[in-house]
C-alpha cells in the first residue's frame, strides 16, 4: 500500500477528500436540518386538531375546484376583467420591450463601449433587486394607486429581465457579419437593424412572449395588491371580502385556462419564428 492513500478512522481507505467548500456546505445542510426540527417543536399548536384540520382543508379545496361557480360576478364581467388584466400585461410588456431593445444595444459588449454597458448593467441590477410591488408603491406616490402605477412598476421588471435576455442574444451574433456590414460603409444603426435584429429575431420574439406570460401572472397579483383592477381584484374580493370558496375556485380556473392558452400561442410563435 502506498503512502498517498489516506485512511478514515475505522482504517478503511478514503475514496474522496472533501475540500473547504464541500465541508462548509455539509455543515450548512446539517445545521438547517437541525433548526427545521427544532422549529416544529417551537410552533404554537394551540387549538389545532390535525384530525379535524386535514379533512377541512380537503373539503375547502374540493369546494373551490370541484364545484366552482361565479356568485357575485357574471361570466361576461369575469371575462371582461380577464381582458383588463391581459391588457395591463400587454402594455407593460410592449413598452418594456421597446425600451429594452435600445438598452440592450447599449448593454451587449460587442455593440457598445464597456462603460456604457457597465452603467446599464448596474442600473438593471438595482431595478431587479427591488420587488415589483415596491416599484408599484413608489410610483403610486406620483400616479396614485391603480393601473398606471401597476403598469409602470411592471415595466421596470420587464426591462430588467428583457435587457439581459436581449443583450445575451445580441452577443451571440457572429462578429464577422458585423464586420462585413462595416466594410460596406454602413453606419451603426444600419448594423443594428440589418444584422443584429434580423439575426436574433426568433430569440427576441420568444423572450418577449415569455415575459408576457410572466407579466400576466404579475398583473393578477397587482390587481389585488395595488388595486390595478382586472381579474386579480375580483379574486381578492371573492377571497377576503365575500369569503366565497366557489368563486375563488372559478376565478383560479379561468386564470389557469388563460395561462395555458398563452403557453400554446407562445409555442406556435416559436415554431413560426
Amino acid at each position: 500500500m502506498t503512502a498517498v492513500v489516506e485512511h478514515n478512522k475505522n482504517g478503511g481507505i478514503k475514496v474522496s477528500k472533501p475540500n473547504r467548500g464541500q465541508r462548509v456546505l455539509k455543515g450548512l445542510l446539517i445545521g438547517s436540518a437541525i433548526f427545521t426540527v427544532i422549529g416544529f417543536f417551537l410552533m404554537d399548536y394551540t387549538g389545532l386538531d390535525l384530525t379535524h384540520a386535514i379533512p377541512m382543508t380537503i373539503d375547502n379545496l374540493g369546494q373551490m375546484f370541484l364545484s366552482p361557480s361565479l356568485n357575485n360576478t357574471t361570466w361576461p364581467s369575469a371575462l371582461w376583467q380577464v381582458a383588463i388584466t391581459l391588457s395591463l400585461a400587454f402594455l407593460a410588456t410592449i413598452l418594456g420591450a421597446v425600451i429594452s431593445l435600445f438598452l440592450a444595444f447599449g448593454t451587449a459588449v460587442n455593440l457598445s463601449k464597456p462603460w456604457i454597458s457597465n452603467t446599464i448593467k448596474a442600473f438593471i441590477t438595482v431595478v431587479r433587486a427591488v420587488p415589483t410591488v415596491l416599484w408599484v408603491l413608489i410610483f403610486a406616490i406620483a400616479a396614485g394607486l391603480g393601473a398606471v402605477a401597476a403598469v409602470i412598476g411592471m415595466i421596470f421588471h420587464s426591462i430588467a429581465y428583457l435587457v439581459k435576455a436581449y443583450s445575451e442574444a445580441f452577443e451571440e451574433v457572429d462578429q464577422g457579419k458585423i464586420e462585413a456590414l462595416r466594410a460596406t460603409g454602413s453606419s451603426y444603426p444600419h448594423i443594428l437593424f440589418q444584422v443584429v435584429v434580423p439575426q436574433t429575431k426568433s430569440f427576441l420574439i420568444s423572450w418577449t412572449f415569455l415575459r408576457f406570460e410572466i407579466n400576466f401572472g404579475v398583473a393578477v397579483a397587482m390587481g389585488a395588491a395595488a388595486g390595478a383592477g382586472g381579474i386579480g381584484y375580483e379574486l381578492f374580493m371573492a377571497s377576503t371580502f365575500y369569503y366565497d370558496m366557489q368563486e375563488v375556485g372559478a376565478i383560479t380556473l379561468i386564470i389557469l385556462v388563460v395561462a395555458i392558452i398563452l403557453e400554446l400561442i407562445a409555442n406556435r410563435l416559436k415554431m413560426a419564428a
Binding site: 457572429d174 464577422g176 457579419k177 464586420e179 462585413a180 456590414l181 462595416r182 466594410a183 460596406t184 460603409g185 454602413s186 453606419s187 444603426p189 444600419h190 443594428l192 437593424f193 440589418q194 444584422v195 434580423p198 439575426q199 429575431k201
Partner: protein, 305 residues
C-alpha cells in the same frame, strides 16, 4: 487467345462504364458552374507597368501590443484593374494588411493614399464614403443568413444611405434592378428569395461577391475567399473574381493560401513573411527561392491541389 480477347473486352467495357460514370458525376457537379475552364489571361509585366496606380501604401506598421509588430514597414502600390494576390504562411499578417487597406484595422503608423487622397486619418462620414469604394469578401462569407439572398445583396448599398433609409430597407427601384443584374451575372438568380442558410458554400460566396459589387467599388478585398470551399466551387469563385477584374476593371486583392491558384489567376503576387514583404512581382517570377523566402520550406514540401 480467345480468353484473352474476352478479358480485354470486359475490361474495356468496364473502363467505358467508369468513364461514363465519372462524366456523369462531373456533370452533376458542374450544373452550377456558369463558366467553363477557359485559359485564364493574366497581364504581362509590361502591361502591368503601364497600369495607373490607384492606391499606395507607405511605411505601414501595425502593432497589436507594444513591441509585437504584425506589419513591419510595408510599402507597395496597387495598380488600377490588376488582380493582386497576397501569399504567405498563417500569422504572416495577410489579414491585417488587407483590413488596414479599408481601415477595418487602424494601422499604428504609415500612410495610405487611395485615389490621390490620404485616407489614413479619415473619420465618420468620410470613412464610410471611402469604404463604399472598397468592397470586401470573407472566408466565412459573413452573410446575414436569416435574410434572403436579395436582402443580403442590397446591404451593399447601405453605405450610400442615411440611417432611416437603411433601417427601413428603403432601396430605390434602380438600385434593385442593378442588384438583380449582378445576381444574374453571378448565376444565383434562382435563389434570389431563398434564405442564405439554405445555400451551399460556393453559392454563399457568390452572394458575398454580389454584395461587394453592388457597392460599385473601385477595389474588392478578398480575405481567403476559397479557403472553406471545395476545389470545384473554388474554381468558380476565382474565375468570377478574374472576370470582375478583367471585364469591369475593378482592382481585386486576394489573400491566398494556395500558391498554384495565385500563380494561375493573378497579375501580380506579393509574398508576406512575418509582416515583411519578401516578394513583389509577376507570377512567372515565382521560383524555389521565392517559396523558400515566403514559406521557409522547399517548394516540393507544399501541398498542391
Amino acid at each position: 487467345m480467345a480468353v484473352d480477347s474476352k478479358v480485354k473486352e470486359v475490361t474495356e467495357t468496364r473502363t467505358d462504364f467508369n468513364n461514363k460514370e465519372a462524366e456523369e458525376v462531373l456533370i452533376s457537379f458542374d450544373e452550377d458552374l456558369e463558366i467553363t475552364g477557359d485559359e485564364v489571361e493574366i497581364a504581362t509585366k509590361e502591361e502591368l507597368k503601364e497600369m495607373p496606380v490607384i492606391m499606395s501604401i507607405e511605411n505601414l506598421n501595425k502593432e497589436y501590443s507594444k513591441g509585437k509588430s504584425v506589419l513591419k514597414d510595408v510599402n507597395f502600390e496597387i495598380k488600377q484593374g490588376e488582380l493582386l494576390s497576397i501569399i504567405g504562411p498563417s500569422g504572416a499578417g495577410k489579414s491585417t494588411l488587407l483590413r488596414s487597406i479599408n481601415r477595418m484595422i487602424e494601422p499604428t503608423s504609415g500612410k495610405i493614399t487611395f485615389d490621390k487622397q490620404n485616407i489614413t486619418n479619415v473619420k465618420g462620414r468620410d470613412l464610410r464614403n471611402m469604404r463604399t469604394n472598397i468592397g470586401m469578401i470573407f472566408q466565412h462569407y459573413n452573410l446575414v443568413d436569416r435574410l434572403s439572398v436579395f436582402e443580403n445583396v442590397m446591404h451593399g448599398t447601405l453605405g450610400y444611405k442615411n440611417s432611416l433609409q437603411g433601417i427601413f430597407s428603403l432601396y430605390t427601384e434602380s438600385e434593385k434592378e442593378e442588384a438583380i443584374d449582378i445576381i444574374t451575372e453571378l448565376g444565383i438568380e434562382d435563389h434570389i428569395y431563398k434564405r442564405c442558410d439554405e445555400l451551399s458554400g460556393g453559392q454563399k460566396q457568390r452572394v458575398g461577391i454580389a454584395r461587394a459589387l453592388v457597392q460599385k467599388p473601385k477595389i474588392i478585398l478578398c480575405d481567403e475567399p476559397i479557403a472553406s470551399l471545395d476545389p470545384s466551387s473554388s474554381r468558380v469563385i476565382m474565375e468570377h473574381l478574374r472576370k470582375i477584374c478583367s471585364e469591369k476593371g475593378i482592382t481585386v486583392i486576394v489573400n491566398l493560401h494556395q500558391v498554384d491558384v495565385a500563380k494561375n489567376y493573378s497579375d501580380r503576387i506579393i509574398g508576406l513573411n512575418s509582416g515583411e514583404i519578401v516578394f513583389n512581382g509577376h507570377p512567372t517570377e515565382i521560383n524555389k527561392e521565392v517559396i523558400q523566402a515566403v514559406y521557409g520550406t522547399d517548394f516540393d514540401d507544399l501541398i498542391m491541389e
